[in-house]
């Protein structure tokens, strides 16, 4: 059981990554595609948080706790926050492009948005 609890988050992360990729590859709409991209991104949150988790430890807020109290790793949480900030920017730019593509082409199907090929 303990083994399962240790490995489950990693399994979830891998599953989210793959599911998101599957969604991107089969996508017929740019907004759907970008949402799938953020599913892939969620897998990185799960992975990072799982890496820093310690069983029985507190949240890393070191106020009113005796010195030496075990806490979960605060660094991965900082990484997650940075990841959120960086990727929100990316998603915003991509969504703006998707809206513009819909205006310009009248469709958001990536298979029909390809003036250049070959």
């Amino acid at each position: 059981m303990n083994q399962l609890i240790t490995w489950l988050p990693f399994g979830v992360a891998a599953w989210l990554f793959m599911a998101g990729l599957y969604g991107i590859v089969t996508s017929r709409h740019l907004v759907h595609l970008i949402v799938c991209l953020s599913v892939v991104q969620s897998s990185t949150y799960v992975l990072l948080l799982a890496v820093g988790y310690r069983t029985g430890a507190l949240a890393p807020v070191l106020v009113d706790v005796p010195a030496g109290t075990p806490t979960v790793d605060p660094i991965v949480q900082a990484l997650c926050l940075t990841d959120v900030v960086v990727e929100v920017t990316v998603m915003a730019v991509l969504l703006a492009l998707a809206v513009q593509a819909h205006k310009r082409f009248g469709t958001a199907d990536p298979a029909r948005l390809r003036p250049q090929r070959g």
Binding site: S43, L48, V51, V86, V90, V93, P115
Partner: protein
């Protein structure tokens, strides 16, 4: 010995300028905004060159907030500047300066965000070159990416740029997530984010599955940016439609920075535990050769001038990967020289195409036949650039190619020279063919005009080409030449490469603050002088490029048949169909490619 500036300056200055350009109401004062941006880019170039000079003796390690390591354990975030990284940062900032100078007259109307985005892009590239922290490497990689997506789609009303920016954005973001996943795994294993510390921690255990998976994910993420087959599909879509001054950054240095990411991570994190992995060499060599040939064949088939240059960049990225694959200081040095020479030459070629766009409002070669005759200087530059791509000594491109060939011959891989020669002949011939067609109007090529997917990005009077557009093109080509002729340049790069691959010395400098003694010249390092045989081969490949260009222009009936035959050959038709323009296909290739490389890597490093 001049005092080196703080390594944080060349990153902080452009970021502050970018913020000021956005916040300040500069719309009515476009010249002021451009002037500030040019001055900032030039200042960053000077700072990077000072850092380069300062790091020649020993790496410059800078801990943000003064959080230096305690007892060899880093608790802060560092910039670790070595000559190779500082050199790439200098190349990036030089190209940004040239791009901004060219933009001065090229755009009649450009929003105030353009200069700000260029400054963010510059800061991200420089920081990516200087950082010594794995997570920062990812952050600056993404910052470079997002500024790039916005710049690629800057002409947001046009169909071509929209498609290019979306394809660029989605594929590179997926690549970024793969890198981040690899970083998460490495952090889980080692509890460290400092490159040197991860390398030390990993070396305490024999290499295992987790190491292989993280190596795969981190490098594949970077290789998406480096446009390695089969991750390359986004590149021509984005490079063919991005504003021309932006193209010189994309092709001249951004693609190469993807490869630099792999160098940095491999030689600080993985090399201490993997050592000289011959099997890795085999995989990278195969991928590099495939990339250089695929890019070269596609390049030869294009008639849209920017798309043609974009495919030639893929071909060169493949050649750079070949040089990297040797995993030796000599191979790395050759690649670095090639990157420097290629940056100048390719950027100059893109600017020539930009001048054509400015004068004739199109860059479809079929619409331009003979019209370039009014621009003899630009024609001369374009032809010289084609010869340089074709490997004409003493251009830096030729020197880099020769050094890679010598290094591979010493590693008993003589066949590499043949692949590199074929790729340079094809890419050089493609450019020379268009030089003859557009600027001289010679030849009997019959081509249908392309459907225009993009309006002219430039405006203004087109009677005459402003000197401020020609000067950067001349200067960059001269820089590409200088890389090849400056005495001591290649030898200096070889010394820098020796230092770059010395993982132990890097770790000591970062973690203990010990500056290593200058390494004694290893037997694999030469003096930066190529063997006479390979120089002759370079000359022959330039001649071959001229010959092939003339053949494709003149030997009309038989060659046209051959041309049609070539298009009909299943492999070539296939290649063109694979470049489908649909981003979902590109991501499918990305996944498939990563899976294949993963299986090969797992079998090889078992």
């Amino acid at each position: 010995m001049p005092v080196a500036p703080s390594p944080s300056l060349p990153v902080a200055v452009p970021l502050v300028v970018a913020a000021a350009l956005v916040v300040g109401n500069v719309r009515p004062h476009r010249r002021l905004a451009d002037g500030v941006a040019i001055a900032c880019a030039l200042a960053v170039t000077a700072l990077c060159v000072l850092l380069l000079v300062g790091s020649l003796r020993a790496p410059i390690v800078y801990w943000f907030g003064g959080w230096a390591p305690r007892q060899g354990i880093p608790i802060g975030v560092d910039f670790a500047v070595d000559p190779l990284g500082a050199g790439l940062a200098s190349l990036s900032s030089l190209l940004v300066s040239a791009a901004m100078l060219f933009s001065w007259r090229y755009f009649t109307e450009i929003g105030q965000l353009y200069a700000a985005l260029m400054m963010v892009f510059l800061a991200a590239m420089v920081a990516f070159c200087l950082t010594g922290d794995l997570f920062d490497l990812f952050v600056f990689f993404e910052l470079m990416g997002v500024a790039g997506f916005a710049l690629a789609g800057y002409e947001i009303e046009e169909p071509g740029p929209l498609q290019g920016a979306i394809n660029f954005g989605v594929t590179n973001t997926v690549g970024g997530f793969m890198t981040l996943t690899g970083i998460g795994l490495l952090y889980g294993r080692t509890g460290a984010l400092n490159l040197a510390e991860i390398g030390r921690a990993l070396a305490r255990h024999p290499p295992d599955g987790l190491l292989v998976v993280s190596l795969l994910l981190v490098s594949c993420g970077f290789l998406v940016k480096a446009a390695v087959v089969p991750f390359h599909f986004w590149l021509p879509d984005a490079h063919a439609v991005a504003p021309t001054p932006v193209c010189i950054l994309f092709s001249g240095v951004m693609v190469e920075l993807g490869l630099y990411g792999v160098w940095r991570v491999y030689w600080t994190v993985f090399a201490p535990s993997l050592g000289q992995a011959r099997t890795l060499t085999g995989l990278l060599l195969a991928v590099g050769c495939l990339t250089s040939l695929v890019g070269a064949v596609e390049c030869f088939l294009q008639q849209h001038l920017k798309r043609l240059l974009a495919f030639s960049t893929i071909s060169h990225a493949g050649m750079f990967l070949v040089g990297t694959a040797l995993l030796s200081p000599a191979g790395l040095a050759g690649t670095a020289v090639y990157v420097a020479g290629h940056g100048g030459v390719k950027a100059s070629l893109f600017l020539c195409v930009g001048i054509l766009m400015h004068r004739f409002r199109t860059i479809d070669a079929a619409r331009l036949k003979g019209r370039g005759a009014r621009l003899p200087l630009v024609g001369g530059l374009f032809a010289l650039g084609g010869l340089a791509l074709g490997g004409l000594p003493p251009f830096g491109t030729a020197l880099g190619k020769e050094l890679i060939e010598d290094a591979s011959a010493r590693a008993h891989l003589g066949g590499i020279a043949a692949v590199l020669t074929v790729a340079t002949v094809l890419t050089g011939a493609a450019v020379l063919r268009e030089a003859g067609h557009v600027f001289l109007g010679i030849g009997r090529l019959q081509r249908r005009p392309l459907h225009e997917i993009q309006g002219p990005e430039t405006g203004g009077p087109r009677g005459r080409t402003p000197p401020v557009m020609v000067v950067p093109a001349v200067g960059l080509l001269a820089a590409g030449l200088a890389v090849g002729v400056l005495p001591g340049f290649a030898a200096g790069v070889e010394a820098a490469a020796l230092r770059f691959v010395d993982s132990g010395a890097y770790a000591a400098a970062v973690l203990q603050g010990v500056s290593p003694p200058a390494p004694a010249a290893a037997p694999t390092a030469g003096t930066g002088v190529p063997e006479p045989g390979t120089v002759v081969l370079s000359g022959a490949s330039a001649a071959g490029a001229v010959l092939l260009a003339l053949l494709s222009l003149y030997a009309a009936p038989p060659l046209r048949r051959l041309w049609r035959g070539l298009r009909g050959v299943r492999f070539v038709g296939w290649l063109r169909r694979l470049q489908s323009g649909d981003v979902t296909d590109y991501v499918a290739w990305l996944v498939l490619g990563t899976a294949i490389y993963g299986v090969v890597l797992a079998l090889a490093l078992r």
